[in-house]
């Protein structure tokens, strides 16, 4: 079973490598990873979906929390959380199936972002499982190309963020 990990980390070079390094050194394959700046430009929020051996899960989270650049790593797998993903689908349609494709897309809350004689580009967001179904349905209508953002997650319970206050350096003692 995959695990959803949410991290708040410093927006610094190498921070991503340190986090993923903890997973790749154990030979784990990352299913999806998203990272972007938060409202505070110094910080990034990352969501990783990865299949970690259940006995090692807690250990991996602890080791992520130990990283200097990581402010907080949380395992959201068993916590109340919202998980969403964006998918972009380009579909080639025949003239006959164009209306049907639009109707199906609507059922999944999809939105046409480009339309041409060849077909459509459609965006949809939602639960990753739901998007799997959406992609399956689209495929039944013709040749498709798919790009997915990977899961984005946010925990629904406030978790206390423990931050280290600044410390004086030895440089000024002299």
């Amino acid at each position: 079973m995959t695990q959803v990990i949410s991290l708040l980390l410093e927006n610094k070079p190498g921070a991503l490598m340190r986090v993923t390094g903890l997973l790749t050194q154990r030979g784990y394959n990352i299913e999806s990873l998203t990272v972007a700046r938060t409202h505070d430009p110094e910080l990034s929020r990352m969501t990783i979906v990865v299949d970690v051996d259940p006995v090692l899960r807690q250990q991996v989270i602890k080791q992520m929390n130990r990283l200097i650049n990581v402010l907080q790593a949380t395992d959201l797998t068993d916590l109340p959380a919202v998980v969403r993903e964006l998918v972009l689908v380009r579909i080639r349609t025949t003239m006959e199936s164009r209306t049907a494709v639009l109707k199906e897309a609507e059922i999944f809350g999809g939105r046409v972002v480009d339309s041409s004689t060849e077909g459509y580009a459609i965006e949809a967001t939602g639960d990753p499982e739901k998007l799997n179904e959406f992609v399956d349905v689209m495929r039944s209508y013709g040749e498709i190309q798919v790009t997915r953002s990977g899961a984005l997650a946010i925990g629904l319970e406030a978790k206390k963020l423990r931050l280290q206050p600044p410390v004086p350096t030895k440089a000024v003692a002299m």
Partner: protein, 577 residues
Amino acid sequence: MSTLMNGARMLLECLAREGVECIFGYPGGVTLPLYDALYEHPIRHVLVRHEENAAFAAEGFARATGKVGVCCATSGPGATNLTTGLVDAMMDSIPIVAITGQVPSKLIGSDAFQEADTFGITRSCTKHNYLVKRLEDLPQIVHEAFYVAASGRPGPVLVDITKDVLQGQGHYQPVTAIHLPGYKVFTEGHTGQIRRAAQMIQESQRPLVYAGGGIIAAGAAAELREFVESIDAPAVNTLMGLGALPSEHPNFVSMPGMHGSYAANMAMTESDVLIALGVRFDDRVTGRLAAFAPHAKVIHVDIDPAEIGKNRAPDVPIVGDVKRVLAKLNKLLAESPQPAGETVTAARRAWWRRVRGWKEEHPLRPVTSETEIKPQHLMAEIDRLSAGQAIVASDVGQHQMWAAQLVRFNAPRLWLNSGGLGSMGFGLPAAIGAQFARPGKLVFALVGDGGFQMSIPELGTISSHGLPIKIIVMNNGCLGMVRQWQELFYNNRLSAVELDCFPDAAKLAGAYGFTGKTIESPRELRAALEEAVSTPGPYLLNVKVSPSECVYPMVPAGAGIQEMVLGPPQPVAVPSQ
């Protein structure tokens, strides 16, 4: 007021402000600006003969003092050569800062001459690492590096600096504060948990203190001693913790684990409360985890939350600086003296009787022979000369285990060894670092004939600085520990373990300008060691020992620690027909 200076000079300014007196390093193309700045700077640079040894020497310095050790290498091969030392420091939580040069910023990623992705390569070898591409970031990063290396659970930090930063001109502004919001240092243990621990200890009938390298890193030897004495429990020190409690302390049992003593391993197995202080339940200590200390409730104190529950789930986890936690625990125990009922008192007495019984049953006894020098005999003689006071920088292998079993260490920071990584070639350069850190101290480099041949080039460093290191080679003509495993577990099929060529010690040392000697008779041993110690300057003593000795007790891989093999297999008498 700030003065204009180049990046190299600024780096040295930062190092000086961090109290650095000595750097172990090796120059190269991109670090030329740094070496130019060193030319007229009071910081001492020690030119080693290989970058790996610069890292080991920095570790030796740090292990012997608790201060941050510093090493330096150029880009590419210089930096990649450091990596073994970095991982070594990582595994044993040793604070070192490594400075490496990097090709000019504009050339990074172009396969420039002597370019390597040092930042990427050392990501997993360090506690934290930095790539400096802007001069204005340099002071902040250098001070951060020292802070990260020394605080919390110590470890190695690498700062990779591009040549343009070293050459660029700028103003040095003293850095007043370090702000690392994500760097969590847990110092104070949870008061409630400490209270629970105190109660559990007081109610315990068979308590055992299991103390490790964390005690030494935290400078908590005095607190440990007070603790052990106040609860009057037997105590074991791990390989990394030797000296945490003096070897001669009446409560000290010995080292537990794969080559630990019978008494230490039995005490671990039979204890009902295991007080684990600054240890990580390493596989070499626990043996088969499922069989480890099966009756014990575990109190685990460690500064690194990731260590708690990693191998053994504790009953009372305490995340904090073991020095502060022990101080609180001692205070609690002193305030509420043991309301021990008769049952507990009687049980404790019986427990001590059992522990003493195990010690007497199978003591760690130095074996001697009339005809050949037994390795254990060598260790006993070194122990006699050291009397628990000398620094012993050990290499890795059989000699390391025999020394850990038989040499006393009555203070922390005397026993320096590569415990976690087990890096051969560690002993000699670590001794160099230690001797620079403690110039007046008697320092033994205790090495095997294998590890010594990995670090022979450093005889040059030793000689050029006239370091009075006493190099004792325990020479059994083979890679003894590997041979032991082949002998015991691979049907004695000895493969690639024979070291049939060893240089003439007198000639080798002579070639470097100091005294060397080879001995092989047990009758010469004592006098030869005394001569090595009393001769001023470096000394190389090659001690030919019995080639077939194995280290016992031994817990076979995968066995529980109580399933020790106590000695060599005895010849089986063939029943007469």
